[in-house]
Symmetry: C2
């Protein structure tokens, strides 16, 4: 189909599609004349994927380019894949500003959880930063602490990894990378709503801040 029809089907403006083409996010169509190209179903799917990543994932164009690069050129193994995706997504090298002691603290928590796979340094840095902020703010954690969050997320991760198809490398990479990214905003939105609901049930319209 022509670019105008691709625009109609995807709901993405023609100018925006041209921008994605220029940025290399979307592969060029097949030239049928000097100024006309044809697009197929693969372009439509890729366009929906770009929109999905740009939306709640709130990734930058540069990051999306890196993620699509991983999707288009899958690495040898899913473990390697998750590593590459994590690095692409977490802004590698940003672990410079964390003290070694904080990294060690994060590593100790991962060890206590029995997570034996080699932890990605960039993500370990993210964990160290998160723990340091909680510490600085003197936030009271739930009973069970960080370990409780860890155990719950480990259980979810088992279920999430089980959704990765074993028969097609392309499908496996797609599911693993997109699952990593697209579930994050879902978790955060559900958590906010769950907190509002729990708060409403516990305190009602009033609560600790209302006087006698």
């Amino acid at each position: 189909v022509r670019i105008s029809e691709l625009s109609r089907r995807s709901g993405v403006a023609t100018a925006t599609i041209k921008y994605y083409l220029r940025e290399g996010l979307l592969p060029a169509g097949e030239l049928t004349a000097a100024t006309q190209a044809q697009y197929d179903d693969s372009h439509l799917k890729r366009l929906m994927l770009i929109r999905a990543l740009l939306g709640p994932g709130r990734l930058s164009i540069a990051t999306i380019k890196e993620v699509l690069e991983v999707v288009d050129h899958p690495p040898q193994s899913p473990l390697q894949l998750l590593g590459e995706a994590s690095v692409a997504l977490s802004g590698a090298g940003s672990s410079d500003d964390i003290a070694e002691a904080e990294i060690e603290h994060a590593r100790a928590i991962v060890d206590q959880l029995g997570w034996t796979a080699a932890a990605d340094p960039a993500v370990l840095g993210d964990l160290a930063r998160a723990l340091a902020a909680i510490d600085q703010a003197q936030l009271t954690l739930i009973s069970g602490g960080v370990q409780r969050y860890g155990r719950i997320l480990a259980e979810l991760a088992e279920a999430e990894v089980a959704t990765v198809p074993m028969d097609s490398p392309e499908a496996a990479v797609r599911q693993a990378v997109l699952g990593t990214i697209l579930i994050e905003p879902l978790l955060l939105a559900l958590r906010r709503l769950a907190l509002q609901n729990a708060s409403g049930r516990r305190f009602g319209g009033n609560g600790p801040t209302s006087g006698p």
Copy 2:
């Protein structure tokens, strides 16, 4: 203490402290001379809080200002508080770009979960956007789907709300607002590490992408 001593104790550069003072994030010190001010423990605590919010929360200066505003002027009830904090944090008004059908879908999920408290429209919009992206990308969800994530987060929310102290309104607001923000990067970092570990255990060094 003087600003130089505040800088030493907090580990925040004097120029940065002056910037926070200019932006109104940090209250002015007590003037002891025309060009000299004294700072106390409350300034040190506030400084640590700003650093915590600027860190993994990755909030902008403008958003931090709004969050501190809520912390300094607590609303009447914790429910109202969570609402105000959510609006400050979720960039209210951004729900314009979501179709009504998608909002309805999000509302139906919240209803199915039995969350009866009035859902914040901005957060409901975030949920709708997250669901639409998952849908567009044709991502396979874990068995149990969105409901399973919801039930787990509801259980965590109960425990999190239980950490909110009942005796002091200021402490209650602080814990509720900071808990909402600072646990998010913790969850995301733990999830990435849990996924790497689960992937490593399931696929080992190889997996679906390696040939026979």
